[in-house]
Subunit: 186 residues, 2 copies
DNA sequence: ACCTGAACACCGTTCAAGT
DNA sequence: ACCTGAACACCGTTCAAGT
């Protein structure tokens, strides 16, 4: 069970990706309180301190998780359908990312520095798309992002209930239609 | 600095209200991580264990804070203006409660059991009001409540900036108008 | 470069002992 | 009834020591 003291053989050590996977698992199971550096190390069969060779901090760990989850949201977004349709695509994929790991999103809210990376690109893209529609584009960017957050966090209470998740997802799309209706039909 | 060992003189001990006030202060200043039973006791000039005579738990403490904050939301709501206006009043006051202590709301999300009390009454009232408007009243109750949560939590990032708080408050009302517009003008 | 072990300054909570 | 002190099982993180 316990490893030898020195540098492990090539391929025997923990990888950063393995750490992130295990951390996300703990977060999904028990939320922010369940993700401890010590529990994470135990799950990987390693000493807590060895994690610090791959991750700066617990905060850095959350930041890395956030970057990995939200990093793919903007990929494959095409704007051929016009700005309203582009906004709808970005928000729907962002919402889907949030509800995949709502506990991570909640943890990130408590660690505002973790928001800086990937989610910044998403809000920038939304800002640009909205700027083509209304002079109050900053206001509407906030409304739409906040609504996605609130709807996504509600999934924490729906843990595991697939039917309820589907209903909430449908509700989100309906609310989005209402909010985007202001800017004309697409 | 240190108190004697036995039962304190009448009026010398800590009160439950003093505990709640101090806890809310710690939460506002440093968020969930800042609210520790030990820091709370230190602020009150008391041993950590003495808190457990007034509060069952850290979770019970959060629940009591949530009850106190949200307990007043429904008071003085009149339904003379019809259901749409009633819904608007309830949500506006709920949102105002959330943004008064956004860190508390965030902490409660991580402790779902704390939601049970006062916030249940609020959602029940909204459910009843919405039932008069649409068969999809459960769907719309979720949309409206989630939107209030997401908008309220965004205030965490606006810490202290009064102008930004006002702008976000105005944005919330605008979004609410849009969402409630479906159910007819009031 | 990457791991371990011991250590430091924290947590929440229980339990027995005081008055 | 209400407080203390000691104790237990946890935290995150640093630092020196290993290979």
């Amino acid at each position: 069970m316990t490893r030898p003291r020195g540098r492990p053989a090539r391929g025997q050590g923990v990888t950063r990706d393995a750490i992130l996977d295990a951390a996300l698992g703990l977060l999904d199971e028990d939320g922010d309180a369940g993700l401890t550096m010590r529990a994470l190390a135990a799950r990987l069969g390693v000493t807590p301190m060895s994690l610090y060779h791959h991750v700066t901090d617990r905060a850095g760990l959350l930041r890395a998780l956030s970057d990995r989850l939200y990093g793919g949201v903007l990929q494959g977004i095409d704007e051929a359908g016009g700005p309203v349709e582009g906004i709808r695509m970005v928000l729907t994929r962002y919402y889907d990312a949030v509800i995949t790991h709502p506990q991570l999103t909640l943890a990130i809210f408590a660690e505002p520095a973790a928001f800086a990376g990937a989610s910044r690109e998403i809000t920038d893209r939304l800002t640009a798309l909205l700027a083509a529609l209304t002079p109050a584009y900053l206001l509407w960017r906030d409304i739409l992002v906040d609504h996605a957050h609130g709807s996504g966090l509600a999934l924490i209470a729906a843990r595991g209930d697939a039917a309820r998740v589907d209903a909430l997802r449908a509700a989100y799309r309906q609310a989005l239609d209402c909010l985007l209706g202001q800017f004309g039909e697409s």
